[in-house]
Each structure stands twice: as C-alpha cells, then as structure tokens.
C-alpha cells in the first residue's frame, strides 16, 4: 500500500467514524470565513471604487466656464478613452401658464459614463435604471420641478425657443453632488436639442463638462497631459478632489472587514490545533502497529503528509464553495443598497481557499501530526510507550509564523498588523498566566463544598495542562466574540455618531479674494453665522531639501503630492479638526516661510521637521521649512489640506477661497442668493456625498455582521474541539466513579462544576482582553474616544459561564449516561 493509498483510506474511515469531524469542520469554517470575506470585500471594494467615480459620473471630469471645443475629446478618444459631455445652465422652463427655474443639463446620449440614472415613468411610479441620457426631443425632469409646475410626465415643456416632451422623472443622477444642486431642480435634455433652445449665448452663465472614462493608467496619463494644456476657467476634477472623505471611509471599512475575517480564521485555527492534537492521539496505536509490521519512519511521514494534503484540499474546496454561496447570499441581501449591484466575484478565492486550508494545517496541525513518525513500535506491547512530545517552542513558532503570514496577507504589513499581533500575544500570555493562577488558586478551595464540587475542581487541577489550554482556548474564543460585538455596536455607533449633526453640509468653492467679504455678507443678511473662508492655492512641490520632486521616492498620498499639483492653504490658527503631532505651530502674523504637513503625507514623503520644501506657484518658486506635523480628521467635512503654510509664504500667490458651511434646510435660499450675486462661485452639496459615505458604512456594518456569523461558528468549533479532546478520558472517569458507587447526578454535577469554573474564568479574562483590544483599535485605528459599555463587564463573564457550562452539559450528558460496563470493557 502506497502512503497515499493508506492516507486516503485512513481519512475516509476516520471521516465516517467521526474522528475527523471537528478538525475538518474547523478547517472548513476557516476557509469559508476567509473566502467569503475575500469574495465579498473584493466585490464591495470594486463597487465602492466604482461609486466613488460615480460621483463624477466619470473617471475624470473637466469643468470649463467657456466652451472647451472638441480638442480634448479628440485627444481622449485617440488614447482609447470613452467621452461624454454635459452642458449645464439655469433657465426658466414654461408649460402653459406655469413657469419655474430649472437647472438644465444637456447631455450626450452616452451620459453617464459611470453610475446609472434612475428614471420613473411618472411621478411616484416604478423606477428603472438607465445608462443613457434622454433621446432628442425628450426631457427628464426632477420630481420637484414637476411638482412645482403641477405637472406629470407626458406634457410638453418650453425650454428657450424649443419644446420638449417630458418622458421621465429623474429620480437620481450620479453627479448630482456637484454643480447647481439645491439651487434649482434638474431638467435633463439631449445635447442635440441644445442649439435649438437658443439659450447658449455669449455671456450666459454656462458650465461645460467633459467626461472621460477608461482604465486607471490611461486616465492618469491623459489627466497628466491635459493638465499642462488647461486654459483659464478650465479645471480638472478627479475623485481625489472631492473624495478625500470617502476614501478615508473606504479605508476604514476595509481594515474593518479584514480584521473580522482574520479573527474568524484565527479562532478556527485554534480549533484545528486542538482537534489535530486529539486526532494525532487517536492515530498513535495504528502507527505503532504499522511500524511493528515493518513501516519505516519515512513511510509514516509520507502517509501523514498525504493525509494533511488531502484534508487541506478537501477543506479548501468545500470551504471555498461554502464561502462562495455564503457571499452570494449576503450579496443578494445588500444588492438593493448598492447602485448597479455588485461586480461579479472571480474564482481566485477558490485558490486562496486551498492555500488557507494548507496554511492553517501547516501552522496548527502539522507539528502534532509530524510527531506520529516518532511513535515507538514498542507501543503494541506497552501502552504507555508514547511518541516524542512535540516541542512547544517549535509548535508555537510554526503557529505564530503562519498567523503572521496570514495577517500580512489579509491586512498588509501595517499598523493593524502590529496591533493584532500585540493584542493576540498579550491576550494569549494573559490567558495562560491566569490559567495557571486559577489552578494554583484552587488549592484552598478544594476543602470547601460538596463531593461534586471537589471532584470538579480536582479535575481542573489534575489536568493542569489541559485546563490551561482550555481556558486559553475558551477565553480566546470569547474575547474575539466580545471584541466583535464591541466593534459592531459600541465602536461603530461611536464612529457614526461622531459625525456631528451640524457638520458642514455644503462646500463653497471658487470664491475670488475680492468676493470674500461679499459672501460673508450674504450669510449675515440671512441671519446665519458668516463662514470662515480658507484660501486655496494651486501649486507644485518642486524640490525637497534641494532634490527635485520627481526624484524623491514616496508612497501613497505623498507620491500624489510630489507628482501632481497640490492644494495649499495658509492660516494663523489650526482648525479644530487638526491636532499637532510634532513641532510647534507658528505665531500669528509671522514673517517666516513655514509649512505644517499632514502626518500621513509627511510619512509617505519621508519628511522630518526642519526639512525644506520648495514650491512653484504661478511661475515663482520659494522654499518653506517644515516646522510641524498634524493629524487631520478628514471626516469632519471641513476643508482640510495636506500642506498648510504661513500667510507670508503665500500672500503673493493667486488664491481662491473655500469653506464648508452648515446650512439648515430652511435657509437654502441663501445659496440661491449667493450664486446670483457671485456667478463664478460654486456650491457642492455635501448631503449627498455624506449619504453615500453613510451608505458605505452601513454596507461595511452589514458585511461585518455576516463575517461575525463565521466567527460565531468558529467559536463553536473551538468549544467542540476542546471538549472533544477530553471526552474519552471523561467517559472513562465517569464510568469508574459510577462503578465505585457515585450517582449519575453527582458525576454530572462534578463535571458541571468544572466547566462552570473554567467558563467563568475564561469569561472574565476574555472581557479584559476584548476591552484592551477594543481600546487599542478605537484609539489607534478608528481614532475614536472609546469607553467600554457596562454590558461588557457583566455580559462577558456571564457568557463565558453559560457557553462553557452549556457545552459541558451537552458533551457530558452522553458521558454520564454511557453504561459504565461498556466503557470499562472497551478500555
């Protein structure tokens, strides 16, 4: 029999006999958790990315106050990009004797390039999604426009000198966050009808938008080329401009999901370790016999490796399939929440599923299984002849190595990795230490209580090693369950409510220096607090400490700042959403040229305090010294900047001003007044941006709840594995005790006392660990102030006692009811 054949028949037999159930189950849970999250996060990330671009209705958008002509469009098409156009202006539309100011959007029929329109046939009718604009001769109207006109679809509208038939209700367009939103309701028409309206006249206030879409690299290349050709009044819009908040939200969501996934995997891996140790024990006699009959160590080794490989393959495939169906299920759940649905998943998770299974087996099952090769053949005659015990150091090192590898794979080698590793090690150390303390602390208790109580405690003390292992495993499982509950409820709530109710809901941009006082005056006239306006200067970083910017190596955001045009501002004070992390902020009115850099950007560019940044603004260059770094709360929805300079540095530079303002719904006429008074000023409605951010958060929460299911499953598998590991021993003991005259109830109570004791302690420890990790996560990853809820203090230990108690009862009811004679004879 080849080692492979032996491995195969051993596996099949043990599967049928139930010895492999827990091990295989744990593996499948690990694989399913990871692959489902892999499938799902991948799809969500794709959808979120797509949605981020949806805000522009394109990947790149050029906004112009004069007709930009067709040159850019031709260039784009020559580079393989798809293009669309939108021309936007306010105009009064008329129907019969009703008239209303509308924001006319004349679009090419392939608008939008990204995202979808939602169109209803009539007011309050059923919606359908469209990826093309209205055909010539037709118009789609905002429900508000129709309502104000007192009309429904099917009527004719006079737009300038032409008449269009209203054939649809425009419920949603992807780029409604930018432009004139909130000023006048939209009317979407075909760009072919534009000339006939006669509304495009020199001097009328019109915005031309060119929309571009294509592969990321092509877009980047095209944008870079375009930038150098831009004429006054032309501006490029990328998601980077308006989407800093969204990107921040996405990054958090991703960290969050990865964390949930790896927790489930680690839990399941714990179960795999316990189950594998036990499985190896059940194989010892067989291996001894094989060796007695002439099998070599190499033969046993090969058979063992085959067994693991087959097991890994089976679990990988089955788990991946399960993961696939699970994510398809959850995707079906959230599909309504996501515009355009989720992109289809690839099949690569099947591959990573098998890798996961093999990795977990290598880290957590291989050491115990490898020990089988050292089983002495003497065991066929002397039952106490045992294999060489696995070196604890070796098995821990393998496990830690695999865990770190999995972590790097899942969350990358970042801060989250460090926190996870520290948290896990600390938790394991804490739990092990406390486990030993419990066993020691039991001594004085051994004289108290009844016989059952003493028997239970004696069991914990006698199986010292196992007890500690159980406490660690139970405690770890519980800690993870608790932590996830904390994250899902407390942490997420804190995070969500952290966005204040009066957070700015509009951005005002493009305010000329001469208009600042006037803009403030409009607010004052309407009884609102006049907003502070921050200057915005477009500039390039040309050199860092004398080294040309393009030669400076940098990552992430820093790269963007060094390679592209950056937004600069100046200020005398720090905005409340900023916290200084190093250096000192300058005194108001200083004449020195200094710059304060956002933390991540400083790190990405490798900047230190005292470094010299050289800027190029409108043909002039100057150098400023880095004197401080700041942390920025991007989701404060206030205008924030990576680079903040002294006024002295930028006083001469051409600037426009921007502001984030909170305008209550009742005061929206301010915006109308504002735009009328200052036609070049643009207003961005953050409400819809915010709504999308909230949508992303909700989606993340849903996905995590789904992952939480797997963690729960993994926790159950851990419980099963640890209980199964001592089941035979317990069965024999119970039989012995009953033979010696103990009642069934006494034996039962004894085991219960043991499990309740173990569970209570595991619960207390789990609570502590969960709180510690929640605190670390809250402050370091989510940047929140976090105070643990009281339910945790009570719920943790209670849950531990209950869970372990119930599991103990379930597992021992069989043990106690087993006829003692059968047990003793079989032994």
């Amino acid at each position: 029999m080849s080692p492979l054949q032996l491995a195969w028949s051993t596996l099949l037999r043990n599967l049928r006999g139930g010895q492999l159930g827990v091990l295989l189950g744990a593996l499948i849970v690990a694989v399913a958790a990871l692959t489902s999250v892999g499938f799902f996060t991948d799809r969500v990330a794709k959808a979120v990315d797509r949605e981020a671009n949806v805000i522009l209705a394109a990947d790149l958008r050029l906004r112009a106050t004069q007709d930009p002509g067709s040159l850019y469009l031709e260039q784009a098409r020559a580079q393989g990009l798809t293009t669309a156009q939108a021309v936007t202006f306010p105009s009064v539309v008329v129907s019969g004797d009703a008239s209303q100011l509308a924001a006319i959007h004349a679009v090419t029929s392939n608008y939008p390039l990204r995202g979808e329109l939602r169109i209803a046939e009539r007011l309050f009718g059923a919606e359908s999604t469209r990826r093309d604009g209205p055909p010539p001769g037709e118009a789609w109207a905002d429900p508000e426009l129709l309502a104000r006109l007192g009309l429904d679809t099917g009527v004719d509208l006079d737009v300038g000198t032409t008449t269009l038939r209203v054939t649809g209700v425009l419920q949603y367009r992807p780029d409604q966050a930018i432009g004139f939103v909130g000023l006048a309701p939209d009317l979407l028409i075909n760009i072919g009808d534009l000339a006939a309206t006669g509304l495009v006249q020199p001097g009328s206030r019109i915005t031309w938008s060119l929309l571009f879409a294509g592969p990321v690299q092509a877009i980047d290349k095209f944008a870079a080329g375009l930038k150098d050709q831009l004429k006054p009044g032309q501006r490029l819009q990328t998601i980077g401009d308006s989407g800093e908040q969204i990107r921040s939200a996405i990054e958090r969501a991703q960290s969050f999901l990865s964390l949930a996934a790896l927790i489930a995997v680690l839990l399941a891996a714990t179960a795999v370790a316990v189950a594998a140790r036990r499985y190896a024990q059940t194989q010892v006699d067989g291996v001894a016999l094989m060796k007695c009959l002439g099998a070599s160590q190499g033969y046993v080794l090969r058979a063992t490796l085959w067994e693991l490989l087959l097991l890994g393959l089976a679990a990988g495939v089955v788990g991946s399939l399960l993961g696939f169906f699970a994510q398809a299920g959850i995707a079906w759940f959230v599909i309504d929440l996501i515009d355009g649905g989720l992109p289809a998943p690839g099949i690569s998770p099947l591959f990573s599923g098998v890798i996961t299974a093999l990795a977990v087996l290598t880290g957590f099952a291989l050491p115990s299984m490898l020990a089988l090769r050292t089983v002495p053949p003497l065991r066929v005659l002397r039952h106490d002849a045992a294999p060489r015990p696995v070196s604890t150091l070796v098995s821990y090192l393998t496990a830690v190595g695999v865990v770190v590898a999995l972590l790097v794979w899942l969350v990358g080698a970042g801060r989250l990795l460090l926190i996870s590793v520290v948290g896990l090690s600390l938790g394991a150390a804490l739990l092990s230490g406390a486990g030993w303390l419990l066993v020691l602390g039991l001594r004085p208790l051994r004289n108290a209580g009844g016989a059952a109580f003493r028997y239970g405690l004696a069991n914990i003390a006698r199986r010292r090693g196992e007890s500690v292992a159980q406490i660690v495993a139970f405690g770890f499982g519980l800690a993870v369950l608790l932590l996830l509950s904390v994250i899902r409820t407390d942490l997420l709530d804190t995070w969500r409510t952290n966005l204040p109710a009066d957070a700015p809901n509009h951005f005002i941009i493009n305010v000329q220096p001469s208009e600042v006082a006037g803009v403030r005056a409009v607010f004052e006239r309407n009884g609102l607090t006049p907003p502070d306006l921050a200057p915005l200067v477009r500039a390039r970083i040309t050199a860092v400490n004398g080294v040309a910017a393009q030669d400076v190596s940098a990552t992430g955001e820093g790269r963007q700042l060094l390679r592209r045009e950056a937004n600069l501002t100046w200020a005398d004070r720090l905005d409340p959403s900023n916290t200084l992390t190093a250096g000192e902020f300058w005194d108001p009115g200083t004449s020195r040229l200094e710059v304060s850099v956002e933390d991540d950007a400083a790190r990405d560019m490798g900047l230190q305090l005292g470094d010299q940044l050289e800027f190029g603004v409108a043909g002039q260059t100057f150098a400023a010294t880095v004197t401080s770094t700041r942390q920025v709360r991007w989701d404060s929805f206030r205008p924030n900047f990576y680079l903040l300079l002294t006024e002295a540095a930028l006083r001469e530079a051409p600037a426009t001003f921007i502001s984030g303002v909170y305008i209550p719904d009742a005061n929206r006429q301010v915006l109308l007044e504002l735009v009328r008074a200052f036609p070049t000023v643009s207003v961005i409605d953050l409400q819809s941006v915010l709504a999308q951010v909230r949508g992303v958060m909700d989606r993340a929460a849903l996905a995590v709840q789904f992952v939480f299911l797997f963690t729960l499953l993994a926790g159950i598998v851990v419980l099963l594995a640890t209980i199964q590991a001592t089941r035979e021993e317990r069965r024999y003991e119970a039989a012995m005790l009953r033979t010696l005259g103990a009642s069934r109830g006494l034996v039962f109570k004894g085991v219960l006392a043991e499990f309740v004791g173990l569970g209570a302690l595991a619960g207390i420890l789990a609570t502590l660990v969960a709180m510690l990790m929640a605190y670390l996560l809250a402050t370091d990853v989510f940047q929140l102030d976090y105070r643990p809820a009281t339910w945790l203090w009570i719920g943790g230990p209670l849950l531990g006692t209950l869970l372990v108690g119930i599991a103990g009862v379930l597992a021992t009811s069989k043990v106690v009811s087993h006829p003692p004679v059968a047990v003793l004879r079989a032994h």
Partner: protein, 233 residues
C-alpha cells in the same frame, strides 16, 4: 525437521534497565537464549516478570541496554529503527492480546497490510487464501468493529501468517478471549504453525497451552529461571 542452519533467534546477555522515580530499575537481567528453527516455545512467568519486555527486545520493538539479539544471520541490535522494521516485515509475525487491528481497514485490508508494506506481488490472492485458512473468507470486507473478539484474533493470526514469517511472536493471544474461544484460537495457531514450520514464541499464563509447546522458558524478576524441553517433542 529443522534445517541444518544455525538458530533462528539468539539472545546474548540481554539486559534492560529503565529509569523510574525510585531510580534505575533492571527489568531484564542478563538473559541469554537460543531458539532453533521451527521450535514452539512458551514464555511463562508471573505478571510483571519481564515476559513482554523480553518479547519486545527479541522482536526489535525496543532496544536493550546491553546485549545482542540475532535474527538468523542479522544482528538486530546493530540496526536502526527503520532497519529493524524492514527485517520484521520480512521475517516476523505478531499476535497480540488486544488484536491491534487497524479500525480504518477491512479484515482483508488488515491482512494485506504487511504484504503491501513489503511491496509484494499478488498480495490480494495470498491474503484471501490466508483468510480462508482461518475460516473468515465470508467476513473479508467487514471492519474490525463488526467482528467478535475471536474473529478479530483470527484476522490478526491471518495477518501474522500471511507473509510466511520465519518467526511468530504471540503475547498472551487468548488473554482477551473467553476460554472456549481461546482454545479455538490456540488450535488455529498450532495448526497453521505445523503447516508452515514457523518458529512460534508464545507468552502465556495458561499451563495447558505452555504444555503444548516443545519448550518452556520461565522468567521471574527479569531473570531466566526455567528452561525445559518436552521429551515428547
């Protein structure tokens, strides 16, 4: 009947010491023994006397502290674990008190095991034939848990004989069986032995069984205290 070659088994001053909480313990003390080919030999002695220890050393399942074991022309004590395993595979069969069948394998597969480990041709035919000899041809595809104790032991005997070993060790083969079944098993062992000319070394507490062997060796406290050969042999 025996061939004109040397003894099949030779033990020279075997000593086994183990460390225990009370210090070093000598569980086999300077035992020397020669077994001619084809002999049936019973090892007797009280519980804890060292019978199983001697068997383990003679079969190369364990290493003596000092002394040598020769199996035919090969010095067992000079080989490593894998070397001893290979030798056992070709020349030695075992029957144990607690059967030691692999629960994952059917009766036939259990019997096949030593042949397959040896990479033997026509393993299946031989295994089926041997199972027929022990009267279990109808139970070939049954798993151990579906067999009675006596049947399990018959499978174990088939497994022991299937490779036509020169030497067969049996450690209390009837210890887990009732008297009647035990007698049948002993009958079977002796019948097969007579047919193959295998050397049989049998550990037993049963004096009747011991009397059926050509030679009896007694062990007490790890020392050889008796060595008698029946005149009848």
């Amino acid at each position: 009947m025996s061939k004109n070659t040397g003894p099949i088994l030779k033990a020279i001053r075997l000593t086994k010491k183990v460390s225990s909480p009370e210090g070093e313990l000598t569980i086999l003390d300077n035992v020397s023994l020669e077994v001619p080919r084809g002999q049936t030999l019973a090892v007797v002695g009280s519980s804890g006397a060292g019978k199983s220890t001697l068997l383990a050393l003679l079969a190369g399942l364990d290493e003596p502290t000092t002394g040598e074991v020769w199996l035919g022309e090969s010095e067992l004590t000079a080989l490593d674990e894998d070397g001893r395993a290979a030798l056992r595979n070709r020349q030695v069969g075992f029957v144990f008190q607690s059967f030691h069948l692999l629960p994952a394998l059917t009766a036939l597969e259990n019997v096949l095991l030593p042949l397959e480990l040896a990479g033997e041709a026509d393993a299946r035919g031989k295994a089926i034939e041997t199972l027929r000899q022990v009267g279990l041809e109808a139970r070939m595809s049954h798993y151990p848990r579906q067999l009675s104790g006596g049947e399990k032991q018959r499978v174990a005997i088939a497994r022991a004989y299937v490779g036509a070993p020169q030497l067969l060790f049996a450690d209390e083969p009837t210890g887990n069986l009732d008297r009647r079944t035990g007698e049948k098993i002993i009958e079977l062992l002796f019948r097969l032995n007579a047919g193959t000319g295998t050397t049989l070394m049998l550990v037993t507490h049963d004096t009747n069984i011991a009397q059926r062997c050509q030679r009896r060796v007694g062990i007490e406290g790890g020392r050889l205290v008796l060595d008698e050969t029946s005149a009848a042999a």
